[in-house]
Symmetry: C2
Subunit: 399 residues, 2 copies
């Protein structure tokens, strides 16, 4: 992989070191023009006809499936098993509600403390709404394997912990879930575009994810859902919107689920966001995921090692032998202020309550120079106690 060439595919503000692509990926160079064309030449000139007759032959109506297939390639999902749309929280609800239907005699959703809170909140809301005595059981990440028992209907996990970067073994935990008669729902928010993923080899029953982090599809970019092909016919969508209907334009009075993954669609997909996603995926077509992973680990190790040497006050969030995603995290009681001071120096990392500093290190637009410079800035912030400044105390935070 020619990483320098890859880097030229992104717009990166001059002088900024961006280690927060795991919150919001940067702007691919082709996005603005792609969205402009969809707005002016498709919406503007084709108007309603754009749904069926897009400028490139396929109308907007097909994009959820077409872009789903392109994401599928990055997560090991076969064509026709991924649909794009809505938000990740909605996709979590779809996966969970389908999984619970398939295990009507079981009452436990098992998750871990490293899961992203919205996944847990969606499970809570679903459980309260169903009112059938389900329980959300949340255990520490390393206790998940042993907590999978015969009461568990579904194991719902985010593969890579949004705070520490800790990576679960998807194949192993899925096999354990299946052995206990449970289903596995995997959230790939911090996996898709971060490293190699193979939902098929892992046997994942459902996988969901967002596209605004490593995939670089922009703020509020749509989510995706994968359903194991041999399960999809058994899914009776709880969010049974018209675009998931077998014949949306027959305007029948009763719902009939669409063929295959199409039933996971709900309402009208966000076309401008899909255009931005498409521009982002053009870059991914050229990425060798194994090379990406190797380079990501190289940069991560370089960063972790240098921080250990230069910033003794920062505690690694993970032991070095624990598998991790494409981020490196540390703990410090003044984490929030440190990140703010770092941002003031033009190095954008991220803070996650209560005390985590996290840094996304993706090879697409980062190299040794940025990694080394970031460490220098971090060391300076700590050595000079720059974080101890009233400007950096008030808390505001995002994504």
């Amino acid at each position: 992989m020619d990483w320098d060439a890859m880097r030229s595919r992104f717009h990166l503000p001059e002088g900024l070191i961006y280690l927060d692509g795991n919150s919001l990926g940067p702007l691919p160079a082709g996005t603005s023009e792609r969205v402009r064309r969809v707005i002016e030449e498709e919406w503007g000139d084709l108007l309603i006809r754009g749904w069926n007759d897009g400028a490139d032959g396929a109308g907007w109506m097909d994009w959820s499936a077409r872009l789903g297939d392109r994401i599928g390639r990055l997560i090991g999902a076969p064509a026709g098993s991924v649909s794009v749309g809505d938000t990740l929280s909605i996709k979590v609800h779809q996966a969970l509600s389908a999984a619970l239907q398939m295990r009507p005699d079981r009452r436990v959703i098992l998750s871990d403390e490293g899961n992203f809170p919205s996944d847990l909140y969606m499970a809570e809301g679903l459980i309260a709404s169903l009112d059938r005595g389900h329980e959300l059981r949340v255990v520490p990440p390393d206790a998940v394997a042993d907590a999978i028992d015969d009461d568990v209907a579904v194991v719902m996990l985010t593969q890579v912990d949004y705070r520490t970067g800790r990576m679960h073994d998807m194949a192993d935990l899925t096999a354990r879930a299946h052995a206990a008669g449970a289903l596995a729902v995997w959230d790939l928010a911090h996996s898709a575009g971060a490293h190699e993923v193979d939902v098929t080899a892992a046997g994942a029953d459902f996988a969901v994810g967002c596209t605004y982090k490593y995939l670089n599809a922009g703020p509020g970019a749509p989510a995706f859902i994968h359903v194991r092909p041999d399960l999809i016919d058994a899914v009776r969508p709880a969010l049974s919107g018209w675009l998931g209907h077998a014949a949306p334009f027959a305007f029948e009075q009763d719902y009939r689920p669409g063929e295959g993954i199409a039933r996971m669609r709900v309402g009208t997909p966000p076309v401008l966001q899909l255009a931005a996603l498409e521009a982002a995926l053009d870059i991914w077509d050229e990425v060798d995921m194994a090379a990406l992973r190797a380079r990501s680990l190289e940069l991560s190790e370089r960063f972790a090692k240098a921080v250990a040497a230069r910033c003794p006050d920062l505690t690694p969030a993970l032991p070095s032998d624990v598998p991790r995603g494409s981020q490196v995290s540390f703990r410090h009681p003044k984490g929030y202020a440190i990140v703010q001071a770092l941002i003031a120096r033009g190095v954008i990392g991220d803070f996650r309550a209560p005390d985590i500093l996290r840094f996304g290190l993706t090879p697409l637009y980062l190299g040794e120079a940025e990694v080394d410079a970031a460490v220098e800035h971090l060391a300076a912030v700590l050595e000079r106690r720059e974080w101890d400044d009233p400007r950096f105390r008030a808390r505001r935070g995002v994504t």
Copy 2:
């Protein structure tokens, strides 16, 4: 109102007569530039900081509420009672699930045959998922008033029928629902931006709608939901996503609903679509809704009268004394092919199964000249039997 000046605010393809703004409104002139700025100057340059520090002072995080307030003005909803995001189908689910929670002893969702199918499908999916013996009762539009009895938990209606244009009396039916102890959920998909709406005067408990029709926010534009202010504190969201949490960035393990309407947010909002919505709302700030309605009726009557005179084969979908929205519809067994033949002549109307030809007539960008020309084309298609052409037989249709 200076309607000619208003018209110049839209991009309309040369030579096209667009009577389908009730499917997808046309492109406002300022949209492309507004979206470009958000992509290049906010996403591109601010990156993750765009969530809190937008170029215009307010970050993306506030847009769901800010744009909700601007839509609120068009539907008579007070500030702080409307939230933007997701799709209309999801907003229907939110309103329905909340309403059912508030009437735990009742089992009927009452709707009508004129409701948009997705609303009925979402009710079906919710009922199946709850599995507590709820029933979706669907009656003819004019039978709704008498069907509201003590079993009804919620009356769910689309104010303006997407096929015929028939308009329900929102205040009257809401009063009847309340008198019977039921709640009212109103879908304003064909109302918002079409005529004056006052959800407050009507006492509507919940109102939902989309922004890609009369509001002109573009393909896949987000939906909105209004909850009556005195009810919102009792809403425990079933779709309890993190952005509806009281403190999304505290990353607490348990869900606590956000203050007021903020709890109706679910996941990360689609920022590019919100930018397009904002550009569309800039136009609406200048529209006098009473003048819009008067002009809409003027154009509609002119159209209906001329069609009656020139196209005797077309049957009006509604008696002339029935209140209607900003559209005029007819029935014809060859409706689909007629609409296709009309499109081939550069007049875009819409077909709705089984036999409805519908024409949206909004004064924002249509005047007497277009109305008269459309009638001439329609008469020619019928007189010359242009619809009887193999090109116009295959069915494909959208939105």
